[in-house]
Every structure is written in C-alpha cells, then in structure tokens.
Symmetry: C2
Subunit: 381 residues, 2 copies
C-alpha cells in the first residue's frame, strides 16, 4: 500500500506539467485514490481552464470510476471562492470524496484555510502539511505574492537573478566580448528559466549592446513572458531585436517618452510604456526598482527573471529585491580585467551579502548554482 507521501509526490509531478502555463494562477496537481488504486488525476494547465481537482474528477468519470469514498491528494488547499471557475472544495464535496490530503494551506487571503474548513464542515477528513516544503517549491511567486497580501504588505513577485560567469566571477571581457562563456546546455536551461517566468527584466544597456531577443525559444505551450526593459533615459529604438518577436514588451522609465516607439499593427509584438516612481540619490532620474516590482505583482506577475548587466543586477541585489540567484559557472578564467558579475561597491566585510545554498549541479560542462537570499528568507512566512 502506497503512503500519503507517495501519492502526494505524484500530485507534485502532475503539477509540474503546468510549470510554463498557469500564471497568474499557481501550479497544482491532484490525484484521486480509492482502495489503493489511482482512479483519476489532473493538474491545472491555464488560468480560466479547469483546476487540478476538477480535472482529476473529470478524469475519474471518463475512466468510468466512482469517486465516492475516494481520497483526494492536492498540492494546494482547494479553493473556496468563485473565481473564473467554481470553488474546488465544493467540487470535492459533490464528488463524495471521503478524505482530502493537502500539501499546504493556500496563502491567498481569499482562501487561507476556508477550503479545508468547508471540507471539514461537510464531514470530510482533512490531512494538511503533507510534503508542504516540496509543494511550496512549485509556486514561489504565487506564494510570496499571496503571503504578502495576506499580511497587508504590498505584494512583490519572486525575483530570480540569472548570471553566467567564469570561475573568477567575470561575465565578459572589458571590450564586452562574451559569447559564449557557458555551453549550449546552460543556455537551454536559461530558456527553461525564461519559460517559467511571467516577466523577464533587462536593462537598456543589454538591449543596446547585445541586442537580445529575450524570448522563449523552446517548444512549450508557454505564453511568451512579458519582456520588461528598464530604459530610464529612453535610449533604445524601434530597430532592436527584442521588438521582432511575438509577445509583449514594456519599456520602463520614471519619465514619459517624448515620442513612443511605434510598430506596425500587423506586428506580433506589442509595445507599451510604464512610468514608475523615480529612485532617489541619483543625478539622473532612474527607475525605482521596488516600485517596478510592485507594479508587476499587481498585474499578477508571480515570477520575474532578471537578465541584465552588472550595474542593474547589482542595484537589485543591493536593494534586497532578489530572492534567488541562479549562477552558471563555466570552467574558465577570464582574468582580472574582465567585467564583474555585479556592481556592488562594498568596502568592508560587514557589507557582504550572504546567501543560502539551494542546489548545485552540473548542466552540461557548466556548474549551476542556486542560492536564496538570507534577507528575504528571514522575512518570509
């Protein structure tokens, strides 16, 4: 007989099938089990479409299985509110399940225990906290955003910062020459990071110098993430590569553009402008990075990927806005005149910023390091 944990592990695997598609909703998986047999399973694929529980119940019915008396394993507390779909807690009650095993309470203040309560009130046995930590990893952005909302603080998205460096922490030669430090497998991994992000932030310098497309080029059902260009002085122009790919691009500045970049209506790329607060302590007006992130979170952006040069990356880090560092380290030395990864003008050891190891693994011939901010983990629920 399989354990609750084993079925929940399967539900988590199912949830991962929504990795590139569910936002702004969370990734959720559900497994229905009766007499130690899986009678139905499902996951949430896309906002507006069926939730995991509904899909699992439909799957059971299609297979000709009766859900009466079954146990439902769900990676997140079933919702209790009418959104674009009816509440899943009611769906489970209607399906006559006898027991619900949940991985974690939904931090969404509209749910926050109500889903489990509705089930209990209906006489269903509820077990919570089954593989909670593993399940939480499915939705770092959704959980961060909802937890902050639940505490009446202005929500922020989960921010990943990706950087490819040499063993000596360099990203390019002084001249800017950099292609390629890391190998094709690491670059493919960056594509997956992009695909699971709701938005990608880069700086105008990157656009002007490297002219990247910043789009997702792997075959997934993923929407293209929102491409956010921080361009305080409105320096980029309509010729940039980033405008030639389908999707949305937003140009961010504390000042309105004198003339907007115009694209043909037939273009698959839509361009818009976002005016943020200006950051203080600067001769020239700069984008207030926290204000930008707050604005993105309000638009339902769960996870943000920063792909920028040393200056912008350093600014996000210095302001404690980065939750996760993803470093790809190539087995090479670029030398002491090469460009640093992060512009952080510290003078004493007391200013150093320490991180917590999350993952270390080889990706092709490069090393992928994942670290979490010690600052934000302290602040987290």
């Amino acid at each position: 007989m399989a354990s609750d944990q084993e079925y929940m592990a399967l539900a988590i695997q199912l949830a991962k099938q929504g990795l590139y598609t569910t936002s702004p909703n969370p990734r959720v998986g559900c497994v229905l089990v009766k007499n130690d047999e899986i009678i139905g399973q499902g996951f949430h694929f896309k906002a507006g479409e069926g939730h995991a529980e509904v899909n699992a119940i439909a799957d059971a019915k299609q297979r000709g299985n009766d859900t009466q008396g079954a146990t439902a394993y769900v990676t997140l507390e079933p919702c209790s509110h009418f959104g674009r779909t009816p509440p899943c807690a009611q769906g489970l009650i209607d399906a006559n399940v006898a027991r619900v095993v949940g991985a974690m309470t939904d931090p969404n203040p509209q749910v926050a225990g109500n889903g489990f309560n509705i089930l209990r009130t209906a006489g269903i046995e509820v077990v919570d906290n089954c593989l909670a930590a593993e399940s939480a990893k499915l939705n770092p952005g959704f959980i961060k955003r909802m937890s902050m909302a639940g505490k009446n603080t202005e929500p922020l998205p989960y921010v990943r910062l990706k950087m490819a460096t040499s063993l000596d922490g360099r990203t390019a030669m002084q001249s800017g020459e950099s292609q390629w430090i890391t190998g094709p497998e690491a670059r493919a991994e960056v594509q997956r990071l992009r695909a699971q992000s709701c938005a990608i932030i880069c700086g105008a310098d990157s656009v002007l110098i490297d002219d990247p497309s910043m789009n997702v080029r792997i075959e997934t059902d993923s929407r293209q993430p929102l491409r956010v260009i921080i361009d305080s002085q409105h320096r980029i122009n309509a010729d940039a590569n980033i405008f030639t790919h389908p999707g949305k691009v937003v140009i961010v500045s504390p000042v309105a553009p004198e003339s907007a970049i115009t694209r043909n209506e037939s273009d698959a790329c839509s361009v818009s402008y976002l005016q943020t607060a200006a950051s203080e302590n600067n001769d020239r007006q700069q984008v207030d990075l926290k204000d930008l992130l707050v604005t993105l979170a309000r638009q339902g952006i769960n996870e943000v990927l920063i792909e920028s040069g040393a200056q912008l990356a350093g600014a996000f880090i210095a302001q404690d806005l980065v939750d996760e560092l993803v470093l790809f380290t190539a087995p090479t030395l670029l030398g002491s005149d090469a460009r640093p990864a992060f512009t952080l003008p510290f003078e004493t050891m007391g200013q150093q910023i320490r991180w917590s190891w999350q993952d270390v693994r080889m990706v092709g011939n490069d090393l992928k390091l994942v670290l979490k901010s010690q600052v934000s983990s302290k602040e987290k629920p």
Copy 2:
C-alpha cells in the same frame, strides 16, 4: 567470490593511509589473497621503511598464513631496483605468490616494466591495468615527476593552487580584510591539502600582510611540508610567524640576501635560502617560477600547494605551471571593488584559460571545486 577490482579497491584504500607520509616515495597498498581470503595486507608508510608488498608479506607471516600460491594486488608495479630497500619483485618471488595483479606500471625509469618482467620470468602470472586511473590518483606528483624523467624532460612537481573566493570571485576587500570568507570545514580541508603536500609556496606579500604560519595543524603523522616563500626583494624579516613553527622554511630569490635571517639554534624551524634564475621582462628581478619548481622536483618534491595572493597565483597560472585548481567558494558576494582571485590581465576571450572539472562537493557551507589544467593534461602521458 570477490573480483580483482574489489581487492584492488581495498589495496587503494590501504595506500591512502600513506597520504601524508610517503614522499618522496609513492603511496602504495598491497593485499594478499588466497582461496578468496585476505591473508595479508600492507601499505608503504614512510621512505626508508618497508614497501607495501614487504609489509603485506610480513603481515601474512605474522598471522601464520602461507603466501605460497597467493595472488598479490599492488597499486603500483613492484620495484625492481635496490633502493633503500631490496626490490619488491624479488620479495614476491621469494614469497612464492602465483599471481600478481598490478594497477599500473611504475613510471619511474628505474622500474618502468622491469618489475612485472622479473615476475613473469619467474613464472608468475601478471595482470596489469586493474583500476589504473583510480590508482594513478594516489600519486599525481610522483607520476608526473617520474613520467617527465622517463621522457628525458626536466621533471616538475604536481602543482595545486588553492584559493578561497566569494561567489563573485573575490578573496578580500580592497583594504585586505578577508577573515573569514570560508567556514571552518573548508579551512580544515586546506589543512589536509597542506598535509599531503611536500611543499607549500607562498609569496612575501602574504607573509607581510597576513603573517600566516603555513604549517599543518591537524593530527597526522605527517612531516611538516617544506614552506617556500617567494621573496625576490628580501622583504620579510625574522619576526614573521612562519618562522615560529617547527619545520623547514626556504626563502627564494634570484638574488642572494645581503644579510641572512638568523634563528636561534634551539629553534625547531630551520631557515635556508634558494637562489633561482631571474624571470625576464621585469624591471625588478623576479623569481623564475619554473626554475623554482624544477629545483623542488630535483629535491624529491612530488606535490606542491600554492597558497598565495592574486599576483603570484596569476603568474603561476599564466605560465601554465598549475596542474590543479582547488577553489573554495563561499555563499557570499564581496562586491566589485573587492580583490580579484587571480591577476590575469587578459583582453580577449581568446586568452581565457579553460579547465576540466574533476570534483564538485560541499565542504561545510562552502563549495569545493577541483579542476585540472587542460594544457597540462594534453601534455601528460
């Protein structure tokens, strides 16, 4: 019934017991097996004392076991020459073993196949190349030195360069403040690296600024490695901490000292001077680093550990004299004004120096990366 590989793996484990003590000799282990039972085992502990085969035969005798008809597993070809001890090949013949399984041929030109030949001539079955790659890892310095001698090139020791850096590749703040970037486990690992080295090289700047002892402080039977200070301009003085610990210190310069550092005769630390060739292309005379390594190899130094600042480390790397990088990476950012790990003034990607991953593992809360030079691996046998 255990395989040849299993017994050889045991012999390799035995050999490791000589990790800190055998130099200038190689680390060697031996297992004697008869009717699938281990009847004796031994390893080489210290130059001048019994070789692994002799110790294994003695162990068998002490246990009352007859070695006639046994199989001997040895991690290195038994020696064929009279050194400080009689040849081991003859010892195995006298012990009436029926079969010898060797991991690898001894690259020492005085042996180089003669040991196996003597055994075969005596009618003993010889199997070679059993776990050769694993066995070679026991003696990178001995093998490099002997292989170069066998090719009539001037032998060099195996050179490891150790550096503790932040995630952004920095070793200290601009002020020099650096204690401690890495944790106690990483520092303990450095002690083990020192203990298995025959010599440690540091620069005068390190001695003047950090005043390190550069000694081995873990409990092993290890001799203290030779401490080599590169001090081209004779700047260090007798007060340095490095002179207060037992062992030998050698001060290296291309010029003779005007006045030698004198220590009390009662001191456990003996100080000597080594005059090397001067390196070219410098306003001031500098130590020719390759000449220094050649001189150390001639003195029977197998493995060298470089523990220095960015300047000297960069010079060793730029001259392709480093076989192995050992990097301890702490989960911290020290910032872009902090000191680089290696002074290497490259201008183009074409000048980058690529390495091959050997090992990646956590040591306490730090990451230990081991990489081998791609240049020297090409040149190796």
